[in-house]
């Protein structure tokens, strides 16, 4: 079953490798992964869609949270969230179809981003299923080429971000960080 994970992580070399490595070492197939920096350029936001057995979902989130570069990992599969994807699609088609393609594109809320004698380049965003339909309908007009962004997700829950404070470095021995507690189940 597909799990949607949202990660806030440090924008550092190797951080992406740690996340993907954690999934691939368990044999999970990554369906999509998007990553870009946040308002704070030191941090990135990552949205991952991955095929995981439902009973192992919590374990995946815990393992993600153990990564030193990961500030917060959340499972958005069943929690209130908005998930969207971007599709860039090029359709080659006979001139006679041009009007029909534009009409169809309008129905799906797609925009024309390039037009040539060969056909159009279209841009659409939306939910994954809607975009599947859009792509299917465009296929009927001719040869198409598709690039999908993969799901990007934003949680609608206000989740408190818990960050570890800096640890003063004594002359020799590191002291333990400020003590925290973690809730029950």
């Amino acid at each position: 079953m597909l799990q949607i994970i949202s990660l806030l992580l440090e924008n550092k070399p190797g951080a992406l490798m740690r996340v993907t490595g954690l999934l691939t070492s368990r044999g999970y197939n990554i369906e999509s992964l998007t990553v870009a920096r946040t308002l704070d350029p030191a941090l990135s936001r990552m949205s991952i869609v991955v095929d995981v057995e439902p009973n192992l979902r919590a374990q995946v989130i815990k393992q993600m949270n153990k990564l030193i570069n990961v500030l917060q990992a959340s499972d958005l599969t069943d929690s209130p969230a908005v998930c969207r994807e971007l599709v860039l699609l090029r359709v080659r088609s006979a001139t006679s179809n041009r009007m029909a393609i534009l009409k169809e594109a309008e129905i799906f809320g797609a925009r024309v981003v390039d037009s040539s004698a060969d056909g159009f380049a279209l841009e659409a965003t939306g939910e994954v299923e809607k975009l599947d339909e859009f792509i299917d309908s465009m296929r009927s007009y001719g040869e198409i080429e598709v690039t999908r962004s993969g799901t990007v997700a934003v949680s609608l829950d206000a989740k408190r971000l818990r960050l570890s404070p800096p640890v003063p470095k004594g002359d020799a021995v590191a002291t333990l960080p400020a003590l925290e507690t973690i809730g029950s189940k």
Partner: protein
Amino acid sequence: MSATTSGNLMSGAQILLECLVRENVDCIFGYPGGVTLPLYDAMYDHPIRHVLVRHEQNACFAAEGYARSTGKVGVCCATSGPGATNLVTGLVDAMMDSIPVVALTGQVTTKLIGSDAFQEADTFGITRSCTKHNFLVKTVADLPQAIHEAFYIAASGRPGPVLVDIPKDVFQAQSHYSPVSAIHLPGYKVFTEGHTGQIRRAAQMMWEAQRPFVYAGGGVIAANASAELQELVETLDVPAVNTLMGLGALPSHHPNFISMPGMHGSYAANMGMSNCDLLIALGVRFDDRVTGRLSAFAPHAKVIHVDIDPAEIGKNRTVDLPIVGDVKRVLAKLTKVVKEMAPAHAGKNSAGRQAWWRQIREWKEEHPLHVETSTSEIKPQHLMREIDRLSGGEAIVCSDVGQHQMWAAQFIRFNQPRLWLNSGGLGSMGFGLPSAIGAQFACPEKLVFAICGDGGFQMSIPELATIANHGLPIKIIVMNNGYLGMVRQWQELFYNNRLSQVELNTFPDPEKLAGAYGFKGRTIESPHQLAPVLREVVNEPGPYLLNVKVTPFENVYPMVPAGGAINEMVLGPPQPVPA
């Protein structure tokens, strides 16, 4: 000798050594090479001791031995390429057993990274999954922060190995060094204090249980929580087992100590686990070698699980009451609450508790761990019993992996934590001897045994040179049955006795082998020699290689076949079927 004035112009190599001094490092196990030349040049007149091993894998095992025997961070060092890849087994070993190790590796010059340069390997990529965290330091300015973060990550929370990969030009670069004032790892979550409400509920469950049972593991040792464990066990008067990784957490001579559970655990330990109504799991991870078939593990028990790693909670076994925290702090609070509740509960379940103890004693008497002896051959169990007699629960015992490891775990007592050093999770053959080197450097006053099989010993023979070099008085006991015994045991039991590639026909003459390195060695094969010769070995001021020829076809029992429930133990060898 080391410059401490802030702002001093120093090389990256000097800065690294300065950082190690600030981390209280007194000993590094390593092997030099091309790209670490600048580091070794800086080491030349530096007070930190460097122990030259004979293979990088053993540098990491020795660092583990140092860490396991002291609780301090062990440090190992290797060059780029083959040096770094040779560390991998040791890193995974430390990862599996949660041992704090910092590995320093050289890397090719930053400009050459990615060009397939001589002795280049993607160490950062290769060790991603074998470390708790790793660093590739691209500029000398980042070096001090990376080193201190590495030590901090290795030692705090659930301990583990951390690798720092340092290109040659970073060692060479000159920089103004000023000490690091703080470590900031915003995403590094360490939960130390347990949830107060959960602790209270746990105490309540402990008083209400009729058949409580403590299952304590390596986490108790990592947290230095032996005293707290002992106090809880005594306060509740509850029976307790220590896992293979936890041996010594509760002293073996403690009246509440039952023994080791699991695949080769004792009958009483496994029956106790299977029949308890409350399993108090402390610093354990419900490893398959302990639980057997999970669906049949402790079927009647509610489970309290205390662990510092939230990802361990519910990973294998559903937990009724999780407490995430440092087991030392949690146990201290828990015992306090248990004591506060005592007046309200005293005597309530005493009949049930007494029956439970009676039952456990019966199990112990019914099937005690059996010491085979013979007048013609040395039985492996007999060998371990004799080593135990000499150790008296006080010596450091470093074990390799296989049958001898299980017999040692069954028959040698440990009255303190950090005396039993073995490769529990990864099961790395060749661990025993190098880990003994690390332990002996860390604890020069201690009696250190390296107990090896004839297979594992032959994987670590190069380190005899390190032992000889430093005159380390390690007592190397080879339990020689001429076979890869544990593999053979499985071939006997599950592969129709088709003994494929497990016979080790050749073993070097120990007298000549040890003699070639300049120390004593000999072989014994008569049971009458065992006690007197072992005494002679222990009394020898230097190293000693004792090759003990034991009954070749002895197998380890009890045994839970893979996939079996732990109360379905095979208690002894199959009886011959009458014709």
